[in-house]
Amino acid sequence: MSDIANPLPTPATDIPMQILTAFLDRLTTTVDVGPAATERLRKCLIEARDFTEQALRRAVLDEETSS
């Protein structure tokens, strides 16, 4: 028997995720930072959900950080 009695209600608005999605879309469509940097940021922010400065620095500058 299925556990589904009723569909889930409207999912909660995840504002940070909404911003991240719009941000990456803006990088892709209107801001010329290059596909490689955009992809690094997508992996860092969406896939790894790593918001540390070290991770962001690697994604933005494409370089290892000493700290």
Binding site: P7, A22, L61
Partner: protein, 817 residues
């Protein structure tokens, strides 16, 4: 989100054992202060999120969940402190049970163990904002803009947004600074190359003329091109190992040593030392004045900002602006900070040559140590390179006025050139001077090799400069894009929230603030909050509105935010004593607001105020049985309840222990409580008291009389409708109730005597037991015999038509035919 059907608390905070069954409906927990209400709130929060905000965060000192979550008598057995909560999860057919204990708060037991239930539990864990206390409520309203932004961002789960924004800006700023450093290094490399080539500028013709003169001496083909890959020593014979054999060119080394000595001398000459001392004094004055120090940072921000105003709209949010007006506005601000501006510019201008002096040393040391490495045997210059590193570090500390203390440290102990450094340079110079002069070919060869080395250094420096510039441009573009996107989303969010907030607040205060408006203004990590004050303008909430109005503002802001965050999923919230200062009239409006605006949301509310509880019932925010009232609390037993079996069990226990006075006191208090409840439910006429301090004698006789009147009315009505069966039932109830009332009345005088310690009232258990029995039976006489619920009048505020219970089994019509 979820709705709570039941809750079992064991050995948690001040509660030993408590079962509550809200059954998915709004529910109130009431009782005087200190009776354990907050323990219920903590338990719900703990069960759903694994933490208790009251036991964590700012100002909690050494208090923590693990140590202080369990009841004090179980403080060494956190596994016994547990909360079991049964919830309805949308999409899951059966109830979901979450059991969590304090020993392993992060590992709840969740049944059924299915993805939707686990997902719901994980979602709740991420949303501690479902619990709102008065302390948080006031923070939203009265906090400073910076603090409010933190609170609201925490509620909206926006901390991450602010963190990412700050970090991206910091990365862009540091990339900009690196560009400046690498530009400076490229300029040094440019100078060194010119010196090696012995030319005034690096134009193609001039460089090739100098290079080809040396190549001709060596019989090498002249170069026609000077491109990015041109090798000045192309064709020069190399050693078997691949390195070009070369000789130290005395004239070149001498020039480089001379340049290094000059730079070192300049570091320590009187003019430099005096300039350093001057700057130090200015920086010390700045550091002593925190206002000035902060103004320096602000002035810099305005200066950077005004430079960006070159289009008729904001580069972040695209809002149109009047460029001239905005520039004038910022200029006016800058004018007010003109003294600060002068101080800052003066400091920066004075620091540039000082920093440059330090920056030049490493490049010059590098050229000399290169020569030393070519000596036979190679000449170690460790002390010189060590000194060079010290100069670099000091220059770095002077690069940012934000790190004032570090800059002061550098200027306070100005660098001196150690004698060992001067000696090492002298010794190397003597060694070079003792060498024979090279012939023309050797000189030309060495010249080409050194020129090529410096050309490569220069090219590398330019490549680094270019790469850093590209990264800086990219970092700034990314940062700007994030700021623009997040500002756009947040501005849209706050616009919606402010409208919803104003609508909810105006609904509560519609009689005199129907046109109420609000402004939520996000800017640079702050959240301004101004509200309309009776059409006189916009002011901070704490400026003119009363404390009660501020309370309802806090609640409305919370509700508007929650509705925005969760949308249709906003099905549950705990309001912990959040409206204590709202006046009675508006409390009823608040109840109506919660009931009508949020019909799909289950509110669990606590209050220490019996009037507020009555408002909830009158406005049908909670049903007649959807509450638990705490009577008292003690450390051994936790809270005890008014309703339910607790009271009679306690009295029976006292009787068994022959503690008659204690039993009598409990009975008296309970009768007072119940008499008030009965008067309320049956609308019994009671002489009004403004202090609401009614005594038993003022209430219970009125409730009994009212019940008799209503039974008589029900009898008359049944008679008029010729409902013989009903008439017989009511008559039976009337007779039975009259007997109970008479018996209880006869016995009750003894309760007062016992409570007031009359000497003659020396009653034993056998004497007191019938008293208790009579009072209990009287109270039962007000209840439905089937569901046990107290009878109530319906409708509550108009002409009563029916006396009935919740289950409907007792239902007496009062309207005659």
């Amino acid at each position: 989100m979820i709705r709570i059907t039941s809750l079992t608390i064991a050995e948690f905070r001040g509660i030993r054992h408590l079962d509550i069954a809200p059954d998915g409906k709004n529910f109130a927990v009431s009782g005087p202060n200190g009776t354990g209400k907050s323990g219920v709130v903590d338990a719900i929060e703990f069960a759903l999120t694994g933490s208790v905000s009251r036991l964590s965060g700012e100002g909690q000192g050494d208090v923590c969940l693990k140590a202080h979550g369990p009841h004090v008598d179980c403080r060494n057995a956190p596994e016994k402190a547990s909360v079991s909560i049964t919830v309805v999860v949308p999409g899951v057919r059966e109830p979901v049970v979450i059991v969590r204990n304090v020993k392993t708060p992060a590992a709840p037991h969740i049944a059924p163990n299915i993805p939707l239930a686990l997902e719901a539990a994980a979602h709740l864990q991420r949303h501690p904002e479902i619990v709102l206390s008065r302390r948080q409520l006031i923070r939203y309203v009265l906090a400073t803009p910076g603090k409010r932004a933190e609170e609201v961002q925490a509620l909206l789960n926006l901390k991450q947004v602010e963190d990412v924004r700050t970090r991206l800006q910091r990365i862009a700023n540091s990339a900009d600074k690196l560009v400046l450093t690498l530009q400076s290094a490229a300029a040094d490399a440019h100078g060194n190359l010119r010196q090696a080539l012995e030319v005034s500028e690096l134009s193609k013709e001039i460089v090739l003329r100098a290079v080809n003169a040396r190549r001709t001496v060596l019989g090498l083909a002249t170069l026609d091109e000077f491109s990015e890959t041109t090798s000045l020593k192309d064709g020069l014979a190399t050693t078997p190992s691949g390195a070009t054999a070369l000789t130290i060119v005395k004239s070149q080394v001498t020039k480089d040593i001379k340049a290094l000595r000059a730079a070192l001398a300049e570091l320590t000459e009187a003019n430099t030392v005096a300039a350093v001392a001057d700057i130090r004094r200015l920086l010390e004055a700045l550091a002593r004045d925190p206002v000035l120090k902060s103004a320096v940072v602000r002035e810099r921000f305005l200066r950077d900002g005004v430079g960006l105003i070159d289009e008729p709209f904001c580069p972040f949010c695209d809002t149109e602006w009047d460029t001239a007006a905005l520039k004038a506005h910022i200029s006016a601000k800058q004018a007010r900070l003109k003294d600060v501006l002068k101080t800052r510019e003066d400091l920066e201008a004075r620091l540039v040559p000082v920093r440059r002096l330090l920056d030049r040393v490493p490049a010059l040391v590098a050229t000399v140590t290169q020569h030393a490495a070519r000596a036979v045997p190679p000449r170690p210059m460790l002390v010189v390179t060590g000194f060079s590193a010290a100069c670099s570090a000091r220059a770095k500390k002077l690069a940012d006025l934000g790190a004032l203390e570090e800059a002061l440290g550098v200027l306070g102990e100005w660098i001196v050139v150690p004698q060992v450094v001067a000696d090492a340079i002298d010794e190397f110079e003597q060694l070079v001077n003792a060498l024979p002069e090279p012939n023309q070919q050797d000189a030309a060869k060495a010249w080409l090799v050194i020129a090529q080395e410096r050309l490569e250094v220069y090219r590398a420096a330019k490549r680094k400069e270019k790469a850093s510039l590209e990264k800086a441009i990219r970092a700034r573009a990314i940062s700007d894009a994030y700021v623009a996107v997040s500002d756009g989303v947040l501005t849209g969010l706050y616009t919606q929230v402010e409208k919803e907030f104003a609508r909810l607040y105006a609904r509560i205060h519609r009689e005199d603030e129907k046109a109420f408006e609000a402004q939520l203004t996000p800017s640079l990590g702050k959240l301004g909050f101004n509200v309309d004050f009776y059409g006189r303008g916009f002011f901070p909430p704490g400026a003119y509105h009363s404390e009660g109005h501020q309370d309802s503002m806090g609640l409305c802001l919370y509700l508007a935010l929650m509705r925005h965050i969760h949308g249709a999923s906003f099905t549950f919230a705990v309001l912990d004593d959040v409206l204590m200062s709202v006046d009675v009239g508006h409390r009823r409006e608040v109840c109506a607001l919660l009931r009508e605006e949020f019909p799909a949301t289950q509110f669990i509310m606590t209050t220490h105020d019996s009037v507020w509880l009555k408002n909830m019932k009158v406005e049908r925010l909670i049903g007649p049985r959807d509450e638990v009232q705490f009577r008292r609390w003690d450390v051994d037993n936790g809270p005890s309840l008014w309703l339910g079996r607790d009271v009679w069990s306690e009295i029976d226990e006292d009787v068994r222990n022959n503690d008659i006075r204690s039993g009598a006191a409990t009975l008296r208090n309970y009768l007072e409580f119940m008499a008030a409840e009965l008067c309320h439910r049956l609308a019994a006429p009671v002489a009004f008291r403004a202090d609401a301090q009614y005594q038993l004698g003022e209430l219970l006789p009125q409730a009994v009389a009212r019940m008799k009147t209503l039974l008589k009315k029900a009898k008359d009505a049944a008679n008029s409708w010729s409902q013989k069966d009903v008439l017989a039932q009511v008559e039976q109830r009337e007779q039975s109730f009259a007997t109970l009332a008479q018996k209880a009345d006869v016995e009750r005088w003894q309760v007062n005597a016992l409570v007031h310690y009359n000497a003659w009232a020396n009653m034993g258990a056998a004497d007191f037991a019938p008293v208790v029995k009579a009072q209990r039976e009287l109270l039962d006489g007000f209840n439905c015999s089937k569901c046990g619920e107290i009878l109530s009048l319906t409708p509550e505020r108009e002409t009563p038509k029916v006396v009935r219970c919740e289950c409907g089994a007792s239902n007496m019509n009062l309207i005659k035919k």
